[in-house]
Point group: C2
Chain length 203, copies 2
DNA sequence: GTCTATATGACGATAGAC
DNA sequence: GTCTATCGTCATATAGAC
């Protein structure tokens, strides 16, 4: 295996393990064993254990992990254009829920790194989350100017919306399968959350 | 210092450290140093490191940490009795936000233990969160029967509400101080979230 | 009840052969 | 590029003196 491939393979193995057990809960020996190489190989590709952690976000950025929920959704962009609010918030919700839950490892990793106050979470926050606030908040402000939504700090509405979505995904990932306190499809969840927010902020 | 006091002291020192760096990120040596005792003392009071972790929830339960947001709030109970929905949801929100943010360490600890799938989070979930769902969900169902709130799964409304609250508190704890993406008082947040939810689910 | 001293193993990281 | 073997350090946990 070439150096680049091996490096990628180690990185993805490490992402899986870090997302399961956190940074300090994962040993280089485990990563090596899971990747099917010796520990020494790890340290040929990454000088320090923490270098693996730092490389994760670059890898995500290079692949599709940092794509925005609206980039590929023609239906959403069309709804925005037509100012079909119900559709806009439903599409935003369903995209967010599906994406979050399709990459459980990354969401767990983000939580870990936020708690550990690692650069990873901070960069994700300023590069990704801030733009989401700008995008959704911008749409709400536009609709406020149209007189369709009531006057309020649009960022609070965004926080409420993202709060429902992220909290629900975390619940699905961490609890619902075993505990089943609330067992609904993402479609149901997205419809309900979109409707609650929309009725909640309309004029 | 008597055994009980020393045990409590070690426990609280450990809670602080676990909440900052997680279970595997905290060493018994650090706990000992922070508590001002030798490492051997730790292992006299707790046979294994993980026993400290397990003892945390019992300690919380013995103290005030597991109290319900409505137990001490006469204003809330009165509002429920009078069916003053706006007041009910505002009081629930402000209580939750204040409590979550007054015990940052515990919230961080819960997040860590949820990710680590430790008993701690699971017990908190089934002993505390489930009852919150029952309480708030019960009130919503009552108001649905009154015809004041629209037909929907009340648990979804609860999840949306708790999502706003918990997500906002996590943002405050983990980000807002440094990044200031959204700097509002808990009062403002509670008013807005309560209003969004209420308008969102009323008939 | 607390200490010093230490056992035992796992940890991150390196050296050197192939 | 990969391995085996090993380093020094730090981890959890224990023994025995005071």
């Amino acid at each position: 295996m070439k150096a680049d491939e091996r490096r990628e393979q180690i990185l993805h193995t490490a992402i899986d393990l870090f997302s399961l057990k956190g940074f300090s809960g994962t040993t280089t020996k485990e990563i090596a064993r899971a990747a099917g190489v010796s520990e020494a190989i790890i340290f040929r590709h990454f000088a320090k254990k923490s270098d693996i952690y730092s490389a994760i976000l670059d890898d995500k950025a290079r692949h599709d992990g940092m794509k925005f929920p609206w980039e590929d959704d023609a239906e959403l962009l069309d709804a925005i254009h037509r100012k079909d609010d119900a559709k806009v918030f439903y599409r935003l919700a369903i995209n967010a829920l599906n994406k979050q839950q399709s990459d459980v490892g990354f969401l767990r990793l983000l939580m870990y790194s936020a708690l550990e106050e690692h650069e990873l979470a901070e960069r994700f926050f300023s590069e990704f989350v801030a733009r989401v606030y700008g995008f959704i908040g911008g749409y709400i402000e536009e609709r406020q100017r149209d007189g369709v939504m009531r006057e309020m700090d649009a960022r609070i509405a965004v926080r409420a919306f993202l709060g429902m979505l992220i909290h629900h995904s975390l619940n699905v990932i961490l609890w619902d399968k075993r505990k089943a306190l609330l067992n609904i499809t993402n479609k149901e969840a997205a419809e309900n959350f979109a409707q609650i927010l929309l009725r909640g902020i309309k004029a």
